[in-house]
């Protein structure tokens, strides 16, 4: 059932993301050819060429912004509208467990976040005529290897994923709690987000205070950071993120299971 849910979730979101990605890549390509002889840098006076070039770049950066904003808006909107709005009457009467609805939204959101980041990265390669950036790539990889060790290639993505998951689930949680209110649900959701954020920060501070005098902190504070020390630190952050994500998931599931209150 989760696979079926994801199939429809992708269908309903892809129709917005795919054209946006395509437009971004096209504009990256256009910008690359708008500046074949580096006219922008060479021009001494204002010329139409410079204007076109400037406008092209402005649109390109606007599109990058649009990709990120769309990703965030859709994470919010798909949950709010599809589950907590009128469409919720359809979704919650499907023979599907509540956790599968949440997992569906979460997984598709994570995948779109990753794709958005990838497409923006690819567009940068396209824009800069790629060769320099591609030549830099081995150095970046080497750098990661030296600072984090081979384990870094697992710990860093794990950290990013756990942070992404807990971030998205916190938004869901805010909306799930916001729908408990009879009126001004959107406003209540914003309020709930602030409350959840505050609680999360408090938990971080408490954890830091608890760990302040342990061997763990000595390891991190040591002058020369070893890859082992880095990975231990980032790995525990990743695990912390996962625990927070799991807590959010459990709360969203509880609220939607027992306190669902569609308008």
């Amino acid at each position: 059932m989760l696979a079926k849910l994801m199939k429809y979730e992708f269908k309903s979101t892809a129709r917005l993301f795919i054209p946006l990605y395509a437009v971004l890549l096209v504009f990256a390509l256009l910008n690359r050819f708008l500046n074949p002889f580096r006219t922008f840098e060479a021009a001494e006076n204002f010329s139409l060429q410079v204007f076109v070039r400037g406008a092209g770049m402005a649109i390109y950066f606007f599109l990058i912004l649009a990709v990120f904003v769309t990703t965030l808006v859709l994470i919010i909107q798909r949950f709010y509208k599809n589950l907590l709005g009128d469409e919720g009457y359809l979704m919650f009467t499907l023979p599907v467990k509540t956790w599968q609805h949440i997992a569906n939204k979460l997984l598709t959101s994570i995948i779109w976040c990753i794709l958005s980041a990838l497409v923006v990265a690819v567009s940068l390669f396209v824009l800069t005529a790629s060769s320099e950036l591609i030549r830099l790539l081995p150095y970046i990889i080497e750098g990661i290897k030296n600072t984090f060790g081979i384990a870094g290639f697992f710990v860093l993505p794990a950290l990013a994923l756990s942070q992404l998951a807990s971030g998205i689930l916190m938004i869901y949680n805010a909306m799930a709690l916001g729908q408990l209110f009879q009126k001004h649900r959107l406003l209540a959701s914003f309020g709930m987000y602030c409350v959840l954020y505050l609680i999360q920060q408090m938990i971080y501070v408490i954890c830091m205070l608890l760990l302040a005098n342990t061997a763990f902190m000595t390891l991190i504070r040591s002058a020369s950071l070893t890859p082992l020390g880095m990975n231990l630190f980032l790995g525990s952050l990743a695990i912390g993120g996962l625990i927070i994500a799991a807590a959010h998931f459990a709360l969203v599931n509880y609220v939607l299971n027992t306190k669902l209150n569609l308008e």
Partner: protein
Amino acid sequence: MNKLLECKNLSKYFGPVRALDNVTLTIGSGRIVGLLGPNASGKSTFMKICNDLLTPSSGEIRIAGFEPGVESKKIVSYLPERNYLNDWMKVSDIISFFDDFYADFNKEKAYDMLNKLNIQAEDRLKTLSKGTKEKVQLILVMSRDAQLYLLDEPIGGVDPAARDYILETIIRNYNENATVIISTHLISDIEKVLDDVIFIKEGQIVLHKTVDEIREETGKSVDSLFREVFRC
């Protein structure tokens, strides 16, 4: 009488408001039941609880022995009183959607009804009029071979001519072992199709009888009895 739907002391409070107040009710298979009451009498709340869209404050509810959940949703076909269609799908997409999720969905039946009502399968849901959307929802709901149909105000938003067709559709498309519960306040329109009648007032069941019993005992039609019971 077998027990398809059974409630015991079912209550739902919204703060101080008692939307459902100590409802005890048994409905068997093979019936067409009118759930009748004025606005805000608890009809929709009752249907939402049956569909697991609301959790009761107290009491019990069982549908074919199941508490509202995945198992009950497989056998209950629900028409809510609002439009739940999203705006990006075509009519054919939402039919595939139902076909994917409900094992008892009959695609041919759905297309057949679409044809009869002159609704184009390739039209986008967004472009349909309000009445057509309601018809599409009814087609989706009635194309399932469910055990229990819960129809919340199925004729509220359509013109009187379409009402007859819709009622006919409802009667023609449920099998003899299934039960249909129709909530409405447009009683005279549906009176002729009902087997049983439940009057609900301020969250409480005030009457649960067969239409024949009502006629024999009071000599009145359901419509005139309703006007008497719910006189303002």
